[in-house]
Amino acid sequence: MQIFLNDDAHDVDAATLAAVLDSLGFAGRKIATAVNGRFVAAAARPATKLADGDRIEVVAPMQGG
């Protein structure tokens, strides 16, 4: 299926958010996630199933004012 991660399209085999993140290089990283505009806590990623066309947001700490 095709998902979008931070607007970039990816063809993935994995079915859950946790597995997709692992396959795209995010394992062990300090990140927070949302799917289709809704926050998904780290603990909920393994149980969060993805569907074709889902939009994932991945953010990391950054400088801010």
């Binding site: 931070n6 290089g25 990283r29 927070a32 505009g37 953010v59 700490p61 950054m62 400088q63």
Partner: protein, 257 residues
């Protein structure tokens, strides 16, 4: 001072726009800040900027105040706050809901709505607001126990645009910690805010984009301390007429009338 947390420094410092991480680190030290603001942004699978910034933040051992900078809707701000809470492991959130792209003026209607949602969800909200009294009332009613009115638009370096409004706010909320957030340009602006009885100031660009950010951080720290001391020492009210500071009684009679 803020949600039950006592701090000795009354200066909160932003971490953006410094020439280098080394300068940022020295500026934070020079400012004496115990709270630094941070944010979150997209990162790809190969990006490492966020990970190294996270290590840097941890190495400081300071409290972080994550923001929802750049959010223009309630939904966006609420989701960002949730991501920030997990990422930085703190209930504190500097809530920004921006209503106008040019002035970065808060959308106070969205702000109140987002503050209510977040406060009910256990967040400790630091709302970036205007000096409007009624909006401030609504924010307190929504659960905010800190208010952060702007001095002037973010990054504008204009200082306190509405001293009267800020004074009224202070008088109206004697028990709510008030922080002037945004728009400060030089240390005298920070001193003025503290002289009004504000509890703290939050600044970023004024330090980060100064010619020498480390020296400017030190200058702001001194100004905040001076302004606070002046407030506690109860300043004079301005008067219209002169009043001789040197007593007139006992002056030598030397031929004048």
């Amino acid at each position: 001072m803020f949600y039950g947390v006592n701090l000795s420094s009354r200066l909160l410092l932003g971490t953006a726009r410094y020439p280098s991480p080394a300068v940022l680190e020295r500026a934070i030290k020079a400012s004496g800040a115990e709270v630094v603001t941070v944010s979150l942004r997209r990162e790809g699978g190969t990006g490492r900027a966020g990970q190294s910034f996270w290590q840097f933040i941890q190495s400081l051992g300071l409290r972080v105040l994550p923001n929802t900078a750049g959010c223009h809707s309630v939904k966006e701000a609420v989701t960002t706050a949730h991501m920030a809470r997990e990422l930085f492991d703190t209930p504190w959130i500097k809530l920004e809901v921006i209503g106008d792209a040019d002035t970065l003026q808060p959308d106070v209607f969205g702000l109140v709505e987002a503050a209510r949602i977040l406060a009910q969800d256990g967040f400790e909200v630091f709302p970036y607001t205007t000096e409007d009294l009624v909006v401030a009332d609504r924010l307190v009613e929504a659960g905010c126990r800190v208010l952060m009115p702007w001095g002037a638009p973010i990054g504008s370096a204009r200082g306190l645009n509405n001293v009267y409004g800020l004074k009224s706010l202070r008088a109206h909320f004697p028990d709510i910690p008030l922080v002037v957030d945004a728009g400060l340009g030089v240390p005298s602006h920070a001193a003025a805010a503290m002289e009004l009885g504000y509890d703290a100031v939050l600044l970023n660009t004024a330090v980060a984009e100064a010619g020498d950010p480390v020296e400017m951080a030190r200058a702001f720290a001194l100004a905040v301390e001076a302004g606070r001391a002046a407030h506690l020492a109860r300043p004079l009210e301005p008067r219209d007429m002169a009043q001789p500071s040197t007593p007139v009684i006992g002056k030598a009679a030397l031929g004048g009338l």
